[in-house]
């Protein structure tokens, strides 16, 4: 079985596994304890924060560790909303955000917040002017993802950040950076980002840990209370092994970013070229997107059918994003890009990782070919 689902989860680096194991054995103490073992565990957290801060070119005290990017996104949005309710009750985001952002916004909407969901262009890229046009004096937060998790499009964060800040200097800018880090350059200062979420398990780190950058001076109302952990922003005993291993993954994938892109871009381009040659398919990503995601639709063929057929042929791929692929509904992301329901229900995401080779891509192409030919016979009857 060849694994083509790196955008959903990645195999951890061997070093990450080793770090986890050693620290679980040696440093089980609670970092909040007064004794020496606790103090040592606390130092591990401190060092992890420094390592991650260096990778992101921010200050260590601007980073906090959460249980994952879902929590980071929830905390960024709801935490800012609760904290800054006095400024207004309006949020601007896009129609193609990850569910953890999108549904946090819907939850606020039910409580009387006004949410402007910006529709991306057909290309899957959000027009900065449309975001800016939605910003008002009472806008508390703008949230735009770096790389879309389904189709891999890259959002113009620098333009968006600068535009919205010039219109309303108090508005906070949150970036869901999960699919971008380790693949593209990240510049929180240039984007003028105030909040930035990261998920180590997408960059070959451990699960159960996430990062949230909170720019100096920005306050959040905590969602989890019950201790002064993480500067009072996130109560709960620190997950020491996962945090240290996360720092390792952040550092390693940051260092290997350019090599990663150099290796994967030709493979992705080759796949895009191949898929363009299949008349049944409609491509949803292109060469301008992130180097690890290729997405296409087979209009009329449910995505899950194609995925099951490919699995039978030894290829693990995804429909939609992993967080929504259990729902048998058309993809919200593809609908937002003005695809019709049949195309939006037939999406397949192939996401690459640093282990993939030319030979793997050849095998995948053959499998796709076989799958299309097998499914074409029944295509008409499916409608």
């Amino acid at each position: 079985m060849l694994y083509w689902d790196y955008a959903a989860a990645t195999p951890p680096y061997e070093e990450v596994v080793q770090t986890m194991e050693q620290i679980m054995k040696l440093h089980y103490a609670n970092p909040s304890s007064l004794h020496r073992a606790g103090v040592e565990a606390g130092k591990l957290i401190r060092r992890s924060r420094e390592v991650c801060a260096a990778a992101l070119a921010v200050k260590p005290e601007e980073l906090l560790f959460t249980s994952g990017a879902t929590e980071s996104n929830n905390l960024a949005i709801k935490g800012a909303a609760l904290q800054y309710e006095g400024r207004g009750r309006h949020i601007v985001t896009t129609e193609m955000e990850h569910p953890s952002v999108y549904e946090s916004c819907l939850q606020l909407q039910k409580r009387g917040w006004e949410i402007s969901f910006i529709k991306p262009e057909r290309t899957g890229i959000v027009d900065p002017d449309r975001v800016a046009a939605a910003v008002r004096r009472d806008t508390v937060l703008v949230s735009v993802m770096h790389v879309n998790n389904e189709v891999g499009t890259i959002q113009p964060l620098r333009e968006i950040g600068n535009l919205i800040k010039s219109l309303n200097s108090r508005v906070l800018f949150h970036v869901d950076g999960v699919q971008g880090y380790g693949k593209l350059s990240v510049s929180l200062k240039e984007w003028k980002a105030d909040l930035y979420s990261l998920s180590p398990h997408k960059i070959r780190g451990p699960r159960g840990v996430g990062l949230l950058y909170v720019k100096e001076g920005v306050m959040l109302s905590p969602l989890l209370t019950g201790g002064s952990h993480e500067d009072g922003l996130r109560a709960g005993t620190e997950n020491v092994p996962a945090i240290v291993a996360a720092a390792k993954a952040v550092r390693m994938s940051g260092e290997q970013r350019e090599a990663f892109a150099d290796r994967l871009t030709p493979l992705r381009d080759r796949l895009l070229h191949f898929l363009r040659g299949i008349p049944e398919f409609l491509l949803n990503s292109n060469e301008d997107g992130a180097p690890h995601i290729v997405h296409f639709s087979y209009p009329g063929m449910k995505g899950e059918v194609m995925a099951r057929k490919l699995e039978e042929l030894g290829m693990a791929v995804s429909t939609q994003s992993a967080c929504s692929s259990l729902l048998a509904e058309p993809s919200r992301v593809l609908l937002s890009m003005s695809r019709d329901v049949s195309a939006a229900s037939g999406g397949i995401r192939i996401s690459l990782g640093d282990i993939h080779t030319e030979a793997d891509v050849t095998a995948l192409e053959q499998a796709i070919m076989t799958a299309v030919q097998a499914l074409k016979i029944v295509e008409g009857g499916m409608k």
Binding site: Q22, R47, A245, A247
Partner: protein, 428 residues
Amino acid sequence: MRDIESEAVTGEGKSINYADMLLLRFGEFMLKGKNRSRFEKTVLRHVKEIVKPYPNVELTKEFGRIYVQLNGEPAVELVEGLKNVFGIASISPVKVSPSELEGILSVSRHFLNIIAPVPGTTFKVKARRVWKGFPHGSLEMNNLVATPLLQGYPGLIVDVKSPQLEMKVEIRKEHTYIFCENIAGIGGFPLGTNGKAMLLLSGGIDSPVAGWSSMRRGLEVECVHFYSFPYTSELARQKVVDLTRVLSRYAGGIKLHLVPFTEVQTAFTGIGQDNLIITLMRRAMLRIATQLAEREGALAIVTGDSLGQVASQTLPSLNVIGRATVLPLLRPLVMMDKNDIIELSKKIGTYDLSILPYEDCCTLFVPKSPTTNPNLRIVDKIEATLPGYSELLAAAVQATETVRITPYGNELPKDVVNVQAGLQEEWF
């Protein structure tokens, strides 16, 4: 001999990113005839320390100035670091132009565009022809440079007496230096040129500020910290190490003496004079610091005392406590308001550490009502009759551990939790 440059400190540093050289000016110590060259060398050594991480930087020293050629290194970072070098009064970002008229005119025009003076700004050009082979004299150059600038910027008003904006043009054989802005440096005396003192470092807000103020006056300081394990925690000592590390940024490296104080302190608790405990403790600290000063060749003791702030800092207390040492007691903050001290501590980067909530040995054992007016006679008598008092002090000095702390090092006292013991760098 040329006059000391006495230039008003102006400029927000708009031209930093345009500059390819920084001009550093020495401060008040320039007036001190005999010691000048020693002082200048000390500043140069400190500057060298700051530019070490930037391999392309080249330094040249001239009378009253140091030139820092950037060669592509980041000017903003360097200015931030060099501003903190004691003895440097101001920094000017310089653009270097070839020594020919056209080049000078074009650079000066570009320079003015970057400064973008608001209409109504008073202005003058001050050219200085160091290289007499240049075809135009200084006065002629003033006109040659100023005329096209004034034409391009009709909002500027010429004022040759006290202009708000003064563009300097220094014509040398190899290059011409053009600069406008003076960014304020920290001033003071070069590091250690006024001798050495022991600083009593508690971990609070005041004592690090007192240390920095002393260093700015050219004192080399060694820090003395008293700890009372198990009454104070490991974290309190770590905090003092961290504070010393921040201070060491201004000095390159600082010695920290950690004195075990538990025995001395507990000796005072059994004598039934609770309201005098703080007085007795402070005197014991001064005695120990004095012995350390003799050992280290220091000639004074620096404290963070600020008049009236707490019971031990009333005038009667300062009097009784101060008599415990024959060395001069320097109290840089004695007449400062707390708010000003806090502002300074934020500026020098010690505030966030200082407010961490770990008990130090002074906050423990504090009696309900410490005296603000101790009686010297009684205090003397208690100390004279305390069994084994001087041995206790000697033992504390004997058991003192000394660590040299550097800005980016990882030095730690032996029995503070060692980073390396629990933490393996390969995990990260």
